[in-house]
């Protein structure tokens, strides 16, 4: 079948949709980062490493559990590793200058990338998603594949789940309270160490989930996390440090911008997200939805 020539309007419309899909994915990664950053003050540079780990765990589990089983188990397994890392490494650095934990996670990012390269090889591995998900839904809206819509649906579920947990449960309320004032929370008798560990695990769970989803869309290779981490940081900065809705919004915005740029100036799709970051920081130094004084 021959495709039809399309007008520029259609092309823009398509890229708006598509940009939002990609943006939703950036947001999922960025939310995990943001959670950890808000409560523990740790800039988790190893987030991309955990993301890759999630994808590779799913790849190794798939022969036994199938795609759906792997989708459930791999993020949990990744979160378990995350909890171990928090308990034995990161916890020692709370209370020190943030640069300490940053250097630690930065080194960890290299270790995780090399570990995946050592275990699973430098070459991409063929990660297969169920055939039902890989079909485009219609020939004209061919970029709306089952997999991409499934991804968006899952992001919506994960994000609403996250906000429900934060808004309604005792754990969530404590996390939010801790983000505002950890010292007072501790004085009130909350086990802050445990809270941080669980919160870290939760953030890494989101990284693992993003990893499984990414592996279905991109080639699964050791560098997969490194190539996705920068957009997530930009999403956080654009959205505003300390604000989870801001992170979500930031992710969608840069996805959209990158999609639209491809229509007019394709070689600048990467540069555009940094341009946006620059402009936002000049005009709204705290990011679009950042709250005054929260982390200062």
């Amino acid at each position: 079948m021959q495709p039809h020539r399309r007008s520029v309007t259609q092309l823009i419309l398509f890229n708006v949709f598509n940009g939002l899909i990609i943006g939703a994915f950036y947001a999922l990664m960025a939310l995990g980062l943001s959670l950890i950053l808000n409560l523990s003050g740790v800039i988790n540079f190893a987030h991309g490493g955990f993301l890759a780990l999630g994808g590779y765990f799913a790849y190794s589990l798939m022969p036994f559990t199938g795609f759906w089983g792997a989708l459930v188990l791999a993020p949990i397994l990744t979160a378990c590793i995350g909890i171990l890392v928090e308990r034995f490494l990161i916890r020692r650095l709370y209370g020190r200058d943030p640069l300490y934990s940053l250097l630690l996670t930065f080194g960890l990012a290299f270790i995780l990338e090399d570990a995946t390269r050592f275990i699973w090889g430098a070459q991409s591995v063929p990660f297969q998603v169920p055939a039902v998900l890989t079909q485009p839904l219609s020939t004209s809206f061919f970029f709306l594949t089952g997999y991409r819509l499934f991804m968006v649906a899952l992001v919506i579920v994960a994000v609403s789940g996250l906000f429900l947990v934060l808004g309604r449960t005792r754990f969530g309320k404590r996390v939010r309270a801790g983000t505002l004032d950890l010292e007072t929370l501790s004085t009130l008798g909350v086990n802050v160490q445990l809270l941080r560990t669980l919160n870290f695990g939760f953030g890494i769970y989101l990284a693992g989930l993003a990893g499984v989803l990414a592996a279905g869309m991109l080639g699964l290779q050791p560098t997969i996390g490194a190539s996705l981490i920068m957009p997530s940081f930009v999403a956080i900065i654009v959205g505003g440090l300390g604000s989870l809705p801001g992170t979500l919004f930031g992710g969608l915005l840069i996805g959209l911008a990158s999609g639209l740029t491809a229509v007019f100036f394709p070689s600048a799709t990467e540069a555009i997200i940094y341009v946006i970051m620059g402009i936002v920081l000049l005009v709204f130094p705290r990011g679009l939805l950042g709250e005054e004084g929260r982390l200062q």
């Binding site: 598509n18 991409s124 591995v125 063929p126 950890l182 290779q221 229509v263 070689s267 799709t269």
Partner: protein, 420 residues
Amino acid sequence: MDGRLFHRALGRRTLLKVGLAAGAVQIASPFVLRARADDMVKIGFNTPLTGTYAAVGKNEQLGAEYAVAEINAKGGIDGRQVQLLVEDSTSGDVGTAVQKARKLIERDKVNFLLGNVNSAIALAMAQVSNELKTLHIVTGGHTDAITGKSCQWNVFRVCNTTAMEANSVASTLIETSGKKWYYITPDYSFGHTLQGGLEKAAGKLGGTKVGEDLTPLGTTDFSSYLIKAQSAAPDVVIFTQQGDDGVNIMKQAVQFGLDKQLHIAGAQMELEVLEGLPPEARVGTWVFEWYFNQPNVPHVAEFVAGIRKKTGKVPTARTWFGYAAAWTCALAAAKAKSLDAMKMAKALEDFELPPEIGLMPNPAAYRAGDHQLIPTLFVGNAQANGVSDPEDLFKITKTVKGPDVAASADANGCKLVWPA
């Protein structure tokens, strides 16, 4: 631990500064240093072991290691054992790669320099090797300039020029798939010259360009480019992405069903990429520069078996590049009866690789005019699953003789200048 439970305030500025610093440091990476022995002949291999070209860079290294073992088993070079020194050039940081090349030549005193996968790095390394008068075999950087406008007396290249790859596949594509082509091209020297070559080759046969997009190297999501390409309604969409980028674009194109609407093709494809794809995404018409499944060519089966024993996998074109490059060093020294770079370079001019090294249906020789190896190219289609062998993911439909697709050295703009 200083006993304080609470973290210090973390400002936006800190995050920003740190983000910038991290962006810069990502490029740097550790290097591999092997033991040295002064009585040995040394081959320095500066190849990407990290980043997007890690898989292909590693395979080139494996091929060179295999060759060095063979050379040593046959008595080494001039009775001396050969040692391979490997450095991680990184996949894209030219500055680091140049430092590593200098280190290999100046500190480790290697007799030969090999590499690189990345065209830009290969060009930069060639400047260093030329300045330091060291015989340099470019393994797998394809951009035309290496044996064209930037050619050097001391630089020889095993892999093809992008123009040779383009010329090999163009006629097949026009005949089988149509004349309107859309290009999605990685935005660096390799991509540009490959697209340029394809446009020229297609133009001669009546093919036209209906659109093009340049993608930043390391792009993960290609969907917006694919939307544009589909909208332009070409007969053929040409992907010139390599390595991880190649895996990403193929996977996404097939998920969008583009392979059912138009023909997917490109010039250079590699087994590393096909193996990284799920079976349904192994589609399209491509050029392989070397392929392991050549049942009627002598010596190939032994080479494949040997590599399989060493690595558990079949050799790829990259393995062969590394293998042929390391053997070229030994053969050059043997023919020149010297380790002097200029004498060896002279000896390699119009030098034909012996069949057990060439491993191709037709003879492969380094052309005197520009030091380009003129080998055989393999045109064909990717296949979802191997029939006789699970790794047999490419079906050769045509073998192309190098001389038929290579422009003359003069036409490529190469003028070799020898030192006085």
